[in-house]
């Protein structure tokens, strides 16, 4: 099916989210829609899917003009969508989820089961129609979403940021599925901001910035070219850093074990040390104890066993307040939940962990003049794009929110800096900025720990890499270790030829 969007314009009040966008997707083509967060990709797709009505423009399917009043309309016309956040009911089976809303069309539960089996066989999915969705892994749930769309004979399939929730291996498998679908003649729209994926799978690339199409590219374009199109200026994708100049400051973690509520070891006998002036990256697939490790470092979780000491001072068992006062800066993994109070203004968030004594509090009263001055300076230094320091944090984009968190954490004297997933969900421009700040912090001579599940980031930032698997550290290896080997380590094995290197680095 051939999809054509002509002159689509969508406004929200005075804000133009899509400005006369033309887009043609041929049958049997993977068309990438590339753009930063907030560029208007999702708005465009919601127009296509009947969730929004465009002020101007028309949608053509196989040359015929169509109007969609609702997603139901769009689905009936052959448009399927795989959402970033799955639209599945966890307590229903796969077949029930597929059936939902299309009871007649699929011919009841038996029809749905047959359809699921048939599609799953065709694509080699191996999905049991009677399995409960809540029991399935995230990658498999996404396949259920795909089956849901295909069960209605979708000729156009939209994938909205589908890889955000997937492991690298699952991502590769998804791309294989997309190619297979393309070869069968489906028109695929692939929305993403990850350049690596675009180049791997796209037939055509359209770049959107600030609601407008700013260019098209072939899949042979380099990442740097695509990034500069996306951001509107040239960006450096590689982290520029000099050699580590080690200082005597050090964080030492010995035999650290942490239990979860039911007594499982979520951090299992972990030992490492980080010297001042170097970045230790903690790599691994999400959920292998990295979160718990950082939370224990700052005192949110209690260690069952082991010690943490910073420059000789014992931090084990201290409260969060005491750890922060000992000079630990912390960027939490999920800034919206743990890093910011969304309803607070930028200025209020700037003082979130400095609410006692100088510089922001005099006696029992907040010193607004000093705080606002600091916030204004931070806004300038960190290039926080906010209307003012008195705008609520919730009105900022993810990148700017993260800049506020960084400005706060790096705004005081530190002896250790811990950043957990510092660039998750950020656009290319912000990632560049955050990386630069992390390297500047390292060069100031304090130990830096970065936890990341993105291999690119780990390799770019690290002086040494510790790979975690099921709560333990598989090995600590040099930053120039082969990606393939790191992948094997993320699965829990330390390749033989790396063992001497690992031992040397650990010592």
């Amino acid at each position: 099916m051939r999809l054509e969007l002509r002159g689509i314009t969508k406004r929200f009040g005075t804000f133009t989210a899509n400005d006369s966008i033309d887009l043609t997707v041929e049958a049997g083509e993977i068309h990438c829609l590339l753009g930063e967060n907030g560029a208007g990709k999702s708005t465009l797709m919601n127009v296509l899917y009947g969730l929004y009505r465009a002020e101007e423009g028309e949608i053509l399917l196989d040359g015929k003009t169509r109007h969609f009043a609702s997603p139901g309309d769009a689905m009936r016309s052959g448009i399927g969508m795989v959402h970033q956040h799955f639209m599945l009911i966890p307590v229903f089976t796969v077949a029930e989820n597929v059936l939902l809303g299309h009871e007649r069309r699929l011919g009841g539960i038996q029809g749905a089961r047959k359809k699921v089996k048939e599609l799953s066989e065709r694509f080699g999915f191996d999905i049991d129609p009677d399995a409960l969705v809540q029991d399935l892994a995230v990658g498999v749930q996404q396949r259920v979403e795909i089956i849901k769309a295909l069960s209605l004979d979708a000729g156009v399939l939209v994938f909205d940021e589908p890889t955000a929730v997937l492991t690298p291996q699952e991502t590769d498998e998804l791309m294989e599925v997309m190619r297979q679908l393309r070869d069968e003649g489906t028109a695929i729209v692939f929305i993403t901001h990850k350049l690596r994926e675009v180049r791997a799978v796209a037939d055509k690339i359209t770049v959107i910035r600030l609601g407008k199409i700013v260019g098209t590219a072939e899949s042979t374009a380099s990442s740097a070219e695509l990034a500069s199109l996306m951001v509107g200026r040239s960006v450096s994708l590689n982290v520029e850093k000099g050699d580590a100049e080690l200082t005597d400051n050090a964080l030492a973690v010995k035999n650290l074990t942490v239990l979860d509520k039911v007594g499982h070891k979520v951090v299992n006998d972990v030992s490492f040390s980080v010297r001042g002036g170097e970045v230790l990256c903690v790599a691994g697939v999400q959920g292998n104890g990295q979160t718990e490790l950082t939370e224990t470092l700052i005192g949110l979780l209690k260690a069952e066993n082991g010690t943490i000491s910073l420059n000789g001072t014992e931090l084990t068992g201290k409260s969060v307040r005491e750890v922060l006062d000992a000079g630990v800066g912390f960027v939490p993994e999920d800034r919206k939940v743990d890093g910011l109070v969304a309803e607070f203004t930028v200025a209020e968030n700037i003082m979130l962990d400095r609410y006692i004594g100088a510089p922001f509090v005099k006696g029992a009263t907040i010193d607004f003049a000093t705080r606002d001055e600091f916030a204004e300076q931070a806004k300038k230094d960190y290039d926080v794009r906010a209307q003012s320091i008195h705008s609520p944090a919730s009105s900022l984009s993810g990148g700017n929110q993260q800049k506020v968190v960084l400005a706060r954490e790096l705004g005081r004297e530190l002896d250790l800096f811990v950043a957990s997933q510092p660039t998750r969900g950020l656009d290319v421009g912000s990632i560049e900025f955050v990386h630069k700040q992390i390297i500047l912090t390292r060069d100031s001579g304090i130990p830096v720990i970065v936890v990341s599940t993105e291999l690119d980031e780990v390799v770019g930032l690290a002086d040494r890499i510790a790979v975690m698997y099921r709560g333990g550290i598989v090995g600590i290896v040099p930053a120039d270790t082969d990606r393939e080997d790191l992948g094997i380590m993320m699965a829990g094995e330390l390749p033989k030829h790396l063992q001497p290197a690992a031992e040397e680095v650990e010592a």
């Binding site: 929200f12 892994a137 291996q169 999400q286 292998n288 969060v320 999920d334 743990d338 109070v341 029992a364």
Partner: protein, 407 residues
């Protein structure tokens, strides 16, 4: 091979990026207490409209005229207009200003004085709910905290001889401390054990009520020894907030305004108040920023209890000085929730809401006397205000209020 292993190793977590943890109760609380000032005003207007409809339906003369509606529809509307306008005018006259009674300064100011008289404890108690809400806690325990505060303040008021002014001050402070203790227990239990504050406060309401009843039956505690009824002795003259000669209003309203200013400074300006708000809006972020969430929870309930206890003290020192019973809270502990709700927990909003409710109490009596409309109408109005604030979409629809363009 390695790919397979890695896939098994993947313990995928749902994305937390755009799907913050949902807590329905907390969300509802936020919605209840964080509406816009406009919404509060519209809720009051809407409830007045509903009140008018109720008056129309229950008024005997309207019913009579409706009997021959098709013969002379004008009669029905006239009767309707008369009943509704009469009710609201008498409400206004009792609470603010009565043009028919302007013979002396005293007559002119009497309605306002009565409004302020009723508003004082309502405002103070309203802040007792508001401050707890700033930390995300629902203080339903106003009644118990007020009773404890009233009991202790009363005891100081009729047993401990002290010089004037000082005596009132000591009694009120003792009442506030007792309320703080009563509320603080809840905060401590919540912080230590996670027990829900709504259950705890409701249960402690019973404990306080039955405790006060017991004390009022026991001549060694609160009972008036010259009397066999469960009533306390009258307050000593030095422990009374005396009314202005010729009016009902007393210094309680000044105390209420002082407490509003204190609350404003605390929430908007102090660093402890900053922690209160941070914990209330996002306890996870507060914890990561090193704040002691348990301590803040305990303090919030203690402060809320202190306000309630102070309101109880004002009840015995200002409203009922001739000896009190176990109903000395006069329903204020619960009405305070509506006051805080209407005032969106803000200092000035709570002040205005307290004044409005004080006016309703003052005008309600006048309305009952002048128009034979039961004072229960005031309760109905208050109930509808809560209802409308809880359902902002309904109010917005009624008034064609513009919806947010983007969510």
């Amino acid at each position: 091979m390695s790919n397979q292993v890695a896939q098994q190793a993947a313990v995928p977590e749902p994305p937390t990026e755009d799907a913050p943890r949902r807590d329905v109760g907390r969300e509802l609380l936020h919605r209840l207490f964080n509406g816009t000032p406009m919404l509060s005003v519209l809720a009051v207007l809407a409830s007045l409209v509903v009140g008018a409809i109720l008056i129309g339906f229950t008024n005997p003369r309207v019913a009579e005229a409706a009997g021959y509606f098709f013969a002379r529809p004008g009669d029905t509307f006239a009767a309707l207009w008369q009943a509704v306008s009469g009710a609201y005018i008498s409400l206004f006259q009792g609470a603010i200003f009565n043009p028919n009674r302007m013979d002396s300064v005293q007559q002119v100011l009497a309605p306002l004085s009565t409004t302020l008289y009723y508003a004082a404890p309502l405002i103070i108690a309203g802040l007792g709910v508001a401050i707890a809400f700033k930390v995300g806690l629902f203080n339903i325990g106003g009644r118990g905290q007020m009773l404890v505060g009233a009991g202790v303040a009363g005891w100081v008021g009729f047993t401990v001889p002290l010089p004037p002014v000082l005596h009132v001050a000591v009694a009120l402070i003792a009442g506030a401390l007792a309320g703080a203790l009563w509320g603080g227990i809840v905060g401590l239990l919540k912080a230590r054990t996670g027990a829900h504050e709504v259950i705890l406060t409701i249960m402690l309401n019973y404990v306080a009520y039955l405790g006060i009843q017991y004390a009022l039956r026991n001549p060694d505690l609160l009972r008036n020894q010259e009397n066999n009824n469960p009533v306390s002795p009258p307050m000593m003259d030095t422990a009374i907030l005396h009314s202005l000669p010729g009016f009902r209003v007393h210094a309680g309203i000044l105390i209420a305004i002082a407490v509003v200013i204190l609350y404003w400074w605390f929430i908007e300006r102090s660093n402890l108040g900053y922690q209160f708000r941070a914990v209330g809006l996002n306890p996870d972020a507060a914890r990561q920023a090193g704040m002691n969430v348990g301590l803040v929870t305990t303090l919030a309930m203690a402060f809320g209890g202190a306000f309630m206890g102070l309101a109880g003290g004002v009840q015995v020192a200002g409203q009922v000085t001739s000896g009190f019973t176990a109903n000395i809270d006069a329903g204020i502990g619960f009405e305070a929730i509506t006051v805080a709700l209407l005032g969106r927990s803000s200092p000035w909003g709570t002040l205005v809401a307290g004044l409005l409710f004080g006016a309703m109490r003052a005008g309600g009596f006048n309305m009952q006397a002048a128009q034979q409309i039961p004072i229960d109408l005031v309760l109905v109005l208050q109930a509808f205000i809560v209802l409308f604030i809880a359902a902002p979409a309904l109010v917005k629809t009624i008034f064609f209020y513009p919806k947010g363009a983007r969510s």
